[in-house]
Amino acid sequence: MSYETTIGLETHVQLATVSKAFCGDRNEFGAEPNRHISEVSLGYPGTLPFLNERQVEFAVRLGLALGSKINRRSTFDRKNYFYADLPKGYQITQDDRPICVGGALPIRTASQQYAAGAPTVRVQLHHIHMEEDAGKSIHAAGEAFSRVDLNRAGTPLLEVVTEPDLHSAEEVDAFMSGMRQLVRWLEISDGNMEEGSLRCDVNVSVRKQGQAELGTRCEIKNMNSMRFARRAIAYEVDRQIALLEKGESVMQQTRQFDPQSGTTSALREKENAHDYRYFPDPDLPPVVLTDAYVQTLRDTLGILPWEAYTELLALGLDPDDAALIGEEKHHYLSFVRYARASPAVPELAKLWVNRVLPFLQQRELGLEPEQFATLQTLIADGEVSAANAASRLLTDLLENPGDVRQRAVDLGLIQNTDTDFLKHIAREVIGANPDKANAYRKGKKGLIGFFMGEVMKKSGGSAEPKETQALLRGLLEETT
């Protein structure tokens, strides 16, 4: 019997606003515990939330990018539960009327990504809502107490909830990568999974192929690593299929993944689920957005990652180059600026991927598009070898920008195509190695590499390889 897996995700995106969602505390990862706190984030008596408008702006931008409907009126609710890292005893969230509804994220799985023209899958979204994060509880082994860090309490989150529209761990991976890319592209989050800026709850169910209704689902909480998520999903799918195969049924549960054992285990059953007693937060009036506000954000949204990727493919880039260059918006924008001046865009992309992107990790690019165009022309005309251009010339220019041709001359990289000069060297080399020349003539044609190397050495690397090889072959045959 074959089974079909259905997965829905609840993705939490921590927003990169300067201050928290409902007060002026700094929103910053990595500070000493309990530094970014105030009477508001500590839930002191008499304090009230006051909405950070940047959170709304970020939510609308994400919604517009994903093609969601932007609710002109959305409301905040309270989700009530007790925990040591939840200062008010409730979390402010949007339950009844979220800010964005619907939409879809186009994804490319790893296997599709490298096949040019592969179709993208569009993962349908249920909604996006705003909420605040809780603090962090740290239960260290061997300590009889827990530690609570409230720096994160009240930081702004967007929760992106998908329809049950994914079918494999590979697709989940692609969705999370796509989401990470998008939030970074929009500059609304650093998308850092290790720091918890991006994490997800995974709802997994299986059903027999052809069965109409979805199977009973289990929710795996708080996946903040794609590696763990893949393992958790694989384990959970196997577990559920095994249950069904034995004729048992899957219980609706909240489960957690244990990276040590690679298994999931039940946190609580559905009947023991929290009753969160959601109700409208009386401290926060509805968020009302004007059409003009939404339109302004729409107008300033700019190109989106999947549009950029398509454009790069249209420029003739390999899918893998397009994916690498189109990963980050500023890389994409800078590349297309250089591509406009380039005589050979796909080759520029190779230089970009191999030389420029690694350089950009450390430094700013000091070369103008015209300088790159000159460099590419030198290669195209055979004046500088492609290998030398990519390594020595470009490396030097990246460090010290300057006149490209002059630099090639200074570095002695202009290739020698002067036949007399090359002939002279080639003769010398052949004369100095009669045994090898003989061996070549007797059929050890692989020795051509040796002669090439020698000529290169003697010419100080300036010999143009194609020309030199032809010349060497001619001379070696000639002396027979």
């Binding site: 002191y44 109700f279 009036p285």
Partner: protein, 491 residues
Amino acid sequence: MEYYCTTVLFYYRTNYLTPMFYPSIATTQSALDAGEVTTVQLVERYLASIGDQRYLNIYVEVFADEALDRAREQDGRRRAGAKLGRLAGIVLSIKDVICYAGHGVSAGSAMLEDFVSPYTATALQRLLDEDAIVIGRTNCDEFAMGSGNENSHYGPTRNAADPARVPGGSSGGAAVSVQANTCLMAVGSSTGGSVRQPASFCGLYGFKPTYGRISRYGLIAYGSSFDQIGLLARDPTDIALGLELMAGADNFDATAPNRPVPLYSKATSEGPKRIAYFADILKNEKVDGVIRQTTESALKELRDAGHTVEPVTFDYFDYVVPTYYVLTTAEASSNLSRYDGMRYGYRSAEAETLEETYKQSRSEGFGTEVQRRILLGTFVLSSGYYDAFYGKAQRARRVIQEQLRGILADYDFILMPVSPSQPWPVGEQIDDPVANYLADIYTVLANLAGLPAIAIPAGNDPEDHLPVGYQLMADLWQEEELLSFVCRTKK
């Protein structure tokens, strides 16, 4: 100085000379301006009055030294001819639910007995900026839940008109603080009548503004969509000035909109007004006879003065109290979740685990009435009951507001009793919460609809000499109309 104080008290009690407690901001400030009295002397008189009436249990804490320091500093400025704020020399009390940086604030609860606020409420800060002097924090029902001031961790406050009786609540200490001449004006709070009802029980004006008129930041929450800071005073003009100074938008309270603040203290009222009343109440046997009488004579006086006074009907009196209690307890159950023994407040010493800490701290830290309301509120929000209770109450609230505002589209004010009953003996209603809840019927209307309303004193019951009063309610944001009318008709 000692000698002077004693003399003052003697004169005050025997009423031989002009009373040494000025009845209004204007009279106080002109006495200060004339050099008739110094600010320090004023504060000392109030402090002596507090010391003399400890049995009323008005204050949870008196800020004596600090009040004297502020008074001394103001006297210095006054002598030097330097600028003084609009409340210079004005001594206020604050209800024990209003946060004042560096001062204790406990909401009348063991839960917060040792809690010191690190910040000051926006409304209070605005009064302090105008040189108001805060003499202490007043007793109240725990977390403002009650109407007799009997639900306080610090014991009941007593009505100065008859110490065997309650002063009303929840701002009972606030009302008696003015009634017993321990300060000039009291800052209280109203969720369902907690300013008007004690004001009326103590023979004062008690005013609750439109929801959102005054920032709630720093007011310990009970029912967030109902709570408003209010004022209790002998003179409605003082209330107008206090409101003018406290009102307006605040970047810490999203429910206080950015509406212009009229100069309430300068407003005047002219011409005949249209006043509505509910005829049914005047026939209702459950309403105390003296209250019905007071209401009727108030209506008659207004009619005689040339105003239009007409009966109107309101169809939802049966739903008022249930709607109010479903919604406020729901909000309270969530608002009071933060008192969990974790970051501040009472933590049970016996608790070992997290869950025990929650259960024991909250069971030991909260009083009976607070626990009752938390449980009720938790229940009405529970999955499966939400629609039947909370959802329905929300719809009822809208209907109630619509009908009241419909009446106020045709009339300037609605006149009605504050409470169906007069101050009851301390301890009498403590075991009958439903009777207590039902007594809120006339005051909760204004809070359900967010309307401004003011309790107006109307003398004393000729038999037992307890104060009587009535209230006027106006449409949203019509404080200017309401307060100027009350000032104009003040006897």
